[in-house]
Symmetry: C2
Subunit: 425 residues, 2 copies
């Protein structure tokens, strides 16, 4: 194996998480140990920083700074939605910059898009005969990377969502009604599924959970809510922001919500994200629409029965990936490990790859962290497996709970009052 000596660039890409900086700092600490690495350059806002030649000198960061950054949510170097494609001018430009700065190692922390970027750059290096190592360091709260049991970032976001539903269910027990909570996840329902992990008993919410992996039927949804509300006088629902009636953007329920609430009233096109898809996060429109649809049908029904019908909707939004101080210990540990191991793999082998986490079978939670070819992880996104969703498509299975519980860790201990009633006089 050729001992490749030169500078290393590290960058962060995509939606930030609460543990993405743990991967960054662990990689930096590991890079510092190697005599092959001359400079450690942090690209500001991922590939944008490479293109603009905006690098932070990561060797100049004090121990105190790095120790603080470890604990800090968000992407310390800045992130980006930019995704250069093979054949782009940007790819050529990135290469010019890497040559100019004698960059021989590139580490990119991110999701599937970032694996794609790393893969494109890896291919370009090979085609140009430039000696170069690239490693993708996995990160995504969506938990949808191919080849991994789970992805750093997910477990902490899942813990936040589980805690959020614990609290919200207690709030809903206090003041009864229907509550619809929208959870992040465009294509994968993992984060929405985590809503069930803090349930105290059979009567606890969420009572219904809807995933992007199953076609959403608004009439069945309203029937489901009606059934739970009729039985318990309340109903807490977890809905993935990506619920849809089909695979196209136009099939997203949020698109229908936008058509109704924005296009008709303010003659505005549905806001779109950096990739031109309908914007799912950072708007309450899906929750408001679902609340509107349920209220329109069920409020008159229950009012006719002289029963109060209260309904509210919340969208958990960016707090799911950024709220500080609510950490999965497993996630914190593994986020550091994937950063450290990416560097070790890059320095000790002559392949480019993506770090993957595999779970060992057995009664106790244990993982093996290894790597896969970049092209494999860059292939696309994984959905939740079928056996994590129930037959009716409105709840998780025990298999999901067994899968997710060790990741999220012990949740806050709470309890309900015992219903020993005073005899009526």
């Amino acid at each position: 194996m050729v001992k490749l000596k030169g500078n290393a660039v590290i960058g962060q890409s995509g939606g930030p998480t609460c543990v993405i900086n743990r991967s960054l700092v662990a990689a930096v600490e590991e890079l510092k140990k190697s005599s092959l690495i001359t400079g450690i350059f942090g690209a500001r806002h991922g590939v944008e920083g490479i293109l603009k030649e905006e690098f932070i000198d990561l060797k100049k960061q004090s121990r105190t700074t790095l120790a603080r950054v470890v604990e800090t949510p968000g992407a310390a170097l800045g992130s980006t939605r930019k995704r250069p494609r093979e054949g782009d001018d940007d790819c050529v430009k990135i290469f010019e910059v890497f040559r100019k700065y004698d960059v021989r190692y590139f580490f990119y922390i991110g999701g599937g898009d970032s694996a794609q970027t790393a893969n494109t750059i890896s291919a370009l290096a090979r085609s140009q005969g430039y000696d170069f190592r690239t490693f993708h360091i996995p990160k995504t709260i969506d938990n949808d990377l191919i080849g991994s049991d789970h992805t750093p970032g997910y477990a902490t976001a899942a813990r936040f969502v589980a805690c959020a539903f614990m609290g919200d269910d207690l709030d809903n027990r206090s003041l009864k009604g229907v509550k619809v909570n929208v959870v992040m996840g465009r294509r994968a329902g993992y984060l929405t599924a985590a809503s069930v992990l803090g349930k105290l008993d059979e009567e606890s919410g969420p009572h219904l959970v809807y995933f992007p992996e199953r076609r959403f039927d608004i009439d069945r949804f309203i029937d489901d809510v009606d059934a739970v509300f009729g039985r318990l006088g309340r109903c807490v629902v977890a809905v993935s922001e990506g619920i849809a009636t089909g695979p196209e953007d136009k099939d997203l329920i949020v698109t229908q919500a936008g058509e109704m609430l924005l296009k008709e009233s303010v003659r505005m096109e549905m806001p779109r994200d950096a990739f031109g898809h309908p914007q799912l996060s950072g708007t309450g429109i899906l929750a408001d629409y679902l609340v509107y649809r349920v209220r329109r049908l069920l409020e008159p029904k229950y009012e006719a029965l002289k029963k109060k019908f209260r309904i509210r909707g919340d969208t958990f939004g960016y707090l799911q990936r950024s709220f500080p101080g609510v950490l999965s210990e497993v996630d914190a540990r593994e986020a550091a490990q994937v950063g450290k191991l990416a560097v070790q793999f890059a320095l000790s082998s002559d392949i480019d790859g993506s770090v993957v986490i595999q779970r060992k079978s057995g009664p106790r939670y244990a993982v093996e962290i290894t790597y896969a070819p970049l092209a494999e992880v860059a292939r696309g996104e994984a959905e939740m497996p079928d056996h994590f969703i129930n037959q009716a498509g409105n709840y998780v299975t025990q298999a999901f709970i067994d899968y997710a519980r060790p990741l999220v860790g012990r949740l806050p201990k709470i309890g309900l009052i015992q219903k020993s009633l005073v005899p009526k006089r």
Copy 2:
């Protein structure tokens, strides 16, 4: 003083908090010590439970249960928005029930409305010559009770909001843009003001804060956002759900949002809460409307300058009052103290009252917990004092920070990377 012997009823009312059960359990523990108290009855869903004679036997709760309930957000007995008024049939009925069950002590945990209910019942008891003690135990995340420096429930909700903005600002540094976050608080801006408490430096968000105490001007708001975005390339905004152009319901910005987004498109009246006011929480409509208004003006402006203009809105919703595990230690302690002292006051004096927290002057945080006449606390709600809001009405003052910081406690330690750039080649 007459030694009044009989049963005690305790109830919870209004929006729940994360520490309302600490007041409940502390009161129960204190009631258990007294030989004057025969039974301790928990009213299910406040006055609703009294009217339906649904009482939980709180003497029958195990130590383990009570220890768990202490840690649990939400109202363990159930809460209510029902507010009986003097002269109501309900008030007469409550009295019949109290007589029938030999209730001689009534403790009501809640906000200004609950103080009013307690006051009404106290007056009724006096007018009927029924020997009876009532105490109001303060609780509200709005922090708007008359006569108190602050109210149990506020500090924990404020801590959540401060943490939420810490994380959201880091997210916004990662992927720059405008972010509008709507915070609870119909008439008082205390909770929205808490958004600033976790700021790391001058460049940290929130950069702008808007309160119900100041008339909201949408044009000035957009100008403010434009100025910050022009300077930093990003802008994080905290907006109280109660912002308005005047004192009436029709003046609420959420009403204008509802007119535009609901009335025009789905021909729906603005959803209303239990009191017939426009519903502020449990909908994302205010954030979506503000985002729409800002985007319509500023997106074309920045696009003409070839600058990307990204804007998102979140509504923090019910998580602010229910998220478990994020606790202000001061709040936890004081919530228990007001419960315990309410019982001590009721048992040792022959007046009815409301527990109030007063802050002692001096360099270290210290309080005195005493009581005020019920009628005084029942008078209405307090707004934030003028000197907590800056001249422009778009930020807090240092006086607010000095007031709030000891309540919220130490926030998670985070830090930014140092901007030591690699010299360009």
